[in-house]
């Protein structure tokens, strides 16, 4: 792309095929159908096949699981931030609560992973919602800061009170029966989360969430209790995080204080920023990119974090729309220079 000159500007137009596929004509010809389905199928089939493709590289299968866990956290962040309007920097809280509840359910009550994961998802979601309930009236930065404090505090409290295994954590948690179960539980959860949430936000409930985010005064004046909806949003998002935490506990057969670690709060946010906020799929893509990068950079020690930080800053400052939005735009529109 050349330098913008003074006497011309860039014009963006929807592609013909995009316009055609907006309406009922979408099913009129295979090209239209393909236009609509290809990216979606690519995403779904790609994710579903990934474990199979990665059979020769068992280590990367495991990385895929981690990618999915971070993706769940990123979706949770994206949903809460861009659809409910609560920017939560405390993804690690969900992670920890989910991990601990799964580990406790498994080691104290002997429930198998396939039971503890859903139970701790719901239970953990409820616990997180109750914990965050007093903070819900806060907005913007203030909610962000308080939510950032929660995981730190939770870790400290477990440490100070020496409960749940103290600093050693809970060991001897059962693993998933096989790697396939682990991966497909996670992949299906990610896909389900993305598509259910994307559907939900375009339904009437989703409009209420948007309303709470855009203009909570008007929502209040419409006779809707915004705290209920915020709590509901937090519940959904913390359920996703707890699901990730529970899976992590079972993958590593262990839960400990470090599940409240800052990384679980920061990386999902970075992924969302890189992938494109407000698209839900974007945050998944962000994780697919960032987590492997982190693996490649492992040999460079702490430089990894510095590189991460620079990528993040660059995206936030220069390409704040994120990869997903950028991709969508390129897919749906073409650009040309026009004279003015």
């Amino acid at each position: 792309m050349s330098e913008p000159a003074k006497d011309r500007r860039k014009e963006r137009l929807d592609r013909g095929i995009k316009v055609r596929t907006d309406g009922i004509y979408a099913i009129s010809h295979w090209t239209e159908i393909a236009y609509l389905l290809t990216p979606r199928l690519l995403f779904i089939v790609g994710l579903l096949l990934a474990p199979v493709i990665l059979i020769p590289f068992p280590y990367w299968q495991r990385v895929l699981s981690i990618v999915c866990i971070f993706a769940l956290l990123a979706i949770s962040f994206d949903f809460l931030a861009n659809y409910v309007g609560l920017v939560s920097l405390g993804g690690a809280l969900y992670m920890g609560v989910g991990g601990y509840s799964a580990a406790l359910l498994n080691s104290h009550f002997g429930l198998p992973p396939l039971v503890t994961v859903p139970v701790s998802t719901v239970l953990g979601g409820a616990i997180c919602t109750v914990l965050l309930l007093p903070c819900l009236p806060l907005r913007g930065v203030y909610f962000a800061i308080v939510s950032l404090m929660f995981p730190l505090l939770a870790g400290r409290i477990i440490e100070a009170l020496d409960v749940f295994g103290g600093t050693d954590g809970i060991m001897g948690v059962d693993g998933f029966s096989s790697g396939w179960v682990e991966q497909y539980v996670l992949i299906c959860s990610v896909l389900a989360a993305v598509f259910i949430l994307r559907r939900m936000v375009s339904e009437d409930v989703g409009l209420v969430f948007t309303g709470v985010k855009d203009n909570d005064q008007a929502v209040k004046a419409s006779g809707i209790n915004i705290t209920t909806y915020k709590a509901f949003g937090v519940f959904i998002s913390s359920m996703l995080g707890c699901l990730g935490g529970a899976c992590l506990a079972h993958i590593y057969m262990w839960a400990g204080i470090s599940q409240f670690a800052l990384d679980f709060s920061i990386i999902p946010i970075a992924a969302t920023v890189v992938g494109g906020g407000g698209t839900l799929i974007g945050s998944v893509i962000g994780c697919i990119i960032l987590v492997p990068i982190s693996e490649f950079l492992r040999d460079f020690g702490t430089l990894r974090i510095a590189v991460y930080a620079i990528i993040l800053t660059a995206f936030i400052v220069f390409k704040s729309e994120g990869i997903m939005m950028y991709g969508t735009r390129k897919y749906e529109q073409f650009e040309r220079w026009v004279r003015i």
Partner: protein
């Protein structure tokens, strides 16, 4: 007795850590989450200049302050100015820059806690039966001096008044011919220098480690939130409240509850009194 003396020392330490943060936020509404990184950077640069380049201690200190100020200004000028007003982006971007500086330093060899700055005056003194080292007294002295100078600067100089104007109402200040971007750069540089001064007086008490960057950031944020973001009086008051609370918990409850105190203070303050101790009504509306 030692509770009072060390409470004061601890409080002034916290105030020093928080001063730069609250100045930047107060003037340009920019939560500078790279604060801790600038703190460590100053200490490291001063150490480098002293032991690797071989400059005199005072010269090294002044130079390192200048460098930190420039880094802060550059950070604003080249990165943060593009995302002014988007609070969350500001937090993430400044935190990321801080992270890059801190972890870059660690990668570049700042590890293990074996480097430190020498104290200004060595030794200790008995003060009403409590032994205190001179460096801590200097910390208190400089802290008080700095607050005084800052007050004079803000209330008596043209630049300071302009900054104060910005802090109160950015738009009105702009209509009065104050260049808000320039002022924000100045504030950022000044805030960085304040972080640097804190580093130079506090590092001789300990060793220069990357982790202290994170601690300083947490404490600065805690103090500023409890005091009401952007309010200088509030920050100082909050530094004393948290400072004494920490010393008291350390004496009566156990040192490992110290951080818990700060965190609980933040959460309780935000939930019960969102604008902080000294926040203004306008801000209250923003928050709730």
């Amino acid at each position: 007795m030692e509770i009072i003396i060390y409470g004061i020392i601890n409080s002034v330490t916290l105030a020093l850590m928080a001063l730069g943060f609250t100045l930047v936020y107060g003037v340009s509404r920019l939560p500078n989450f790279a604060h801790g990184a600038l703190y460590v950077l100053t200490g490291y640069v001063a150490w480098m200049l002293m032991y690797r380049v071989g400059l005199y201690y005072p010269i090294a200190m002044v130079l390192s302050l200048i460098i930190t100020g420039l880094v802060g200004a550059a950070m604003y000028q080249f990165v943060l100015v593009r995302i002014r007003g988007m609070a969350i982006s500001e937090i993430i971007a400044s935190y990321a820059i801080g992270l890059a500086i801190l972890e870059g330093l660690r990668w570049g060899g700042l590890k293990g806690g074996t480097i430190t700055l020498p104290p200004f005056v060595d030794g200790s003194i008995e003060l009403i039966g409590v032994s205190v080292d001179y460096q801590r007294l200097i910390v208190v002295l400089i802290g008080v001096l700095l607050v005084g100078l800052l007050w004079l600067f803000v209330n008596r100089t043209k630049l300071g008044l302009a900054l104060k104007g910005m802090a109160q109402d950015e738009r009105a200040a702009m209509t009065l011919g104050i260049d808000s971007d320039y002022m924000a750069v100045v504030a950022m540089a000044l805030g960085s220098v304040l972080a640097g001064i804190a580093a130079l007086v506090l590092f001789p008490l300990g060793s220069i480690v990357v982790e202290s960057g994170y601690n300083v950031l947490i404490m600065a944020v805690a103090v500023c939130i409890v005091g009401g973001l952007g309010s200088w009086n509030g920050a100082i008051l909050a530094a004393f409240i948290i400072g004494f609370a920490q010393i008291l918990t350390q004496v009566y409850l156990g040192a490992h509850y110290q951080v818990v105190v700060a965190l609980v203070a933040i959460i309780v303050t935000l939930i019960s009194r969102p604008s902080g101790l000294f926040g203004r009504q306008k801000e209250l509306e923003e928050r709730v």
